[in-house]
Symmetry: C2
Subunit: 324 residues, 2 copies
């Protein structure tokens, strides 16, 4: 005779069941089933996060969960999509305390409410290594209206949302390598602000879009290769938070880190001059700052960066690479 529910099912049911959407079948089946919204295309993306690589091993579990969900929401924002739901796999050491699961689920609950989506399914396993997380997000978009990386044209402005470099400086701050008096920079590293609402208003405005996750310069390179053109940006135009600006003033070498570091999760856009007013109106409606930092140009798919002194900036690396 057998039939007791093993502990991982109890943990899943207790902490994740309250988060489940209708299609999730109470997380009690092999898969979720749902009818896709009529007349919409589906948008799907997946991101992994590993402790010690994408977040700090002692980061609070609610913030780890929210960062995982938000990095994926940022991918939806970059496509102009509306969030629908997500699936999640969680691999954690066997001695992980229940409080970790409770905190993790609380973080998911907060962001489900903020961004309007629900968990559809997933898997929880043990690992002898660091916490390893993977999330697949599903969203929808009007047919043919998804934002793409390949539409930039010569003359389009290079635009960014929010401020750039806070995530990279925030990692330094969170690891005790940079002063962060008000905790703003570490907070930006731990809790990205995906521009989901603005993304949904950019169809017909942006000719190309992506989210900045691996560093501004490297990611701008993707838009250049996608469109078969180059781009020139001015470091002095790249918007910095007052906290990042203070750090750069104290140590000018940090400017390059702002341009090439990861974890911004802001949007990078190509916008024709004729649509700048529409962009500004959409940004105001969403309460998000937008800034033009340069222009796309004909030519080889390269990114030129002019420094504050007017001379070309030499950057050691364009951005973060896992296998450099």
């Amino acid at each position: 005779m057998a039939g007791s529910i093993p502990p991982e099912f109890s943990l899943i049911y207790k902490h994740f069941l309250p988060l489940a959407g209708a299609g999730a079948l109470a997380l009690g089946d092999d898969a979720a089933v749902f009818a896709p919204p009529v007349g919409r295309e589906l948008v799907v993306a997946a991101d992994a996060m590993v402790a010690g690589v994408h977040f700090l091993p002692d980061d609070p579990p609610d913030l780890v969960a929210r960062k995982l969900l938000r990095t994926n929401l940022s991918d939806l924002a970059a496509m102009g999509a509306t969030p629908l739901g997500y699936l999640l796999t969680v691999s954690v050491p066997r001695d992980t305390p229940e409080a970790w699961f409770a905190g993790f689920a609380a973080g998911l609950a907060a962001d489900q409410a903020e961004f309007g989506l629900q968990v559809l399914g997933g898997d929880t396993t043990s690992t002898p290594g660091p916490v390893s997380l993977s999330l697949t997000i599903l969203g929808t978009v009007s047919p043919g209206m998804a934002l793409r990386r390949n539409g930039a044209r010569p003359g389009d402005g290079v635009w960014v949302t929010g401020t750039i470099g806070d995530g990279a400086l925030g990692l330094l701050a969170a690891t005790g390598r940079l002063d962060d008096p008000d905790g703003f920079l570490a907070g930006r590293y731990r809790l990205p602000q995906p521009r989901v609402a603005l993304g949904q208003r950019l169809a017909g405005i942006a000719t190309a879009a992506m989210d900045i996750s691996d560093g501004l310069v490297q990611d701008l390179g993707h838009l250049c290769r996608g469109g078969g053109l180059g781009a020139g940006i001015e470091a002095s135009l790249v918007p910095l938070s007052s906290q990042a600006a203070a750090a750069v003033a104290a140590d000018p070498a940090l400017r390059a880190r702002c341009l090439t570091g990861g974890d911004d999760y802001e949007l990078l856009l190509a916008v024709p001059e004729s649509r700048e007013a529409a962009l500004r109106a959409a940004a105001v409606a969403c309460g998000v700052a937008v800034t033009r930092i340069g222009r796309f140009v004909s030519g080889a798919p390269q990114v030129s960066v002019r420094g504050p002194d007017g001379a070309p900036m030499a950057l050691a690396a364009g951005g973060w690479s896992h296998f450099a």
Copy 2:
């Protein structure tokens, strides 16, 4: 000036791009975009696999990839769904040789062709720990026709596909703890056979279904709790491969391991007596063996197992638990 493609993008493009479906946008965007098939519901599931937990660290990468895809295909089979596509996250040590990626992609390619689906997106990251994989699979089903875990009724037969216990014994064989002269058992551990074709024929035949991944007895407990009833099975009716039967004959203690060990990836079904002929016809059409091993009964959601000697079998554990 920057814009070189960092190494992980080269690896992804080189090995994974040939696997990408049309909606994957050449893996060059933040997300995939596709129109869901008209008049179908979507079925989605996710599973994680960690080296040293779900597969052996030195297992060939093509078989690791195929096992990852097949465990998810088995979830679709259990829902009666038709495969559509998948997203994949791969976290590997920084010194992983390119040959590993090549082998991994070759395994995916083989099973994409065999099961008719394509990669839609994903993420590749480094990890300081063991290889950690996660796969989200998407399938479709006619509206309202998904197989569920909660429909078993008293009197329905308990049915299984294929043979049971090969995966659990195969793990012993693959780790040198059990003789496996022809390599059959280790092969069953490393390469499951998801019953996708049969699953798609079971709507209107099975009243409940799931795939057996955590051990027959434990998983039968899920169908019991789902339907609010009990089940009794006969160990002597549980189909064993000739290789598993030989192992059990040499060491009778292995019979319990066959009933409670994981990694079967066979289907577990509830089928009313009136539909047994239809079940057998569907199984013949798919070339899959089906065997009745017991019956569902009214009462508490418990699983009773009668041993070959006619006495109740005491099983130490119902199945595999990650956090016992």
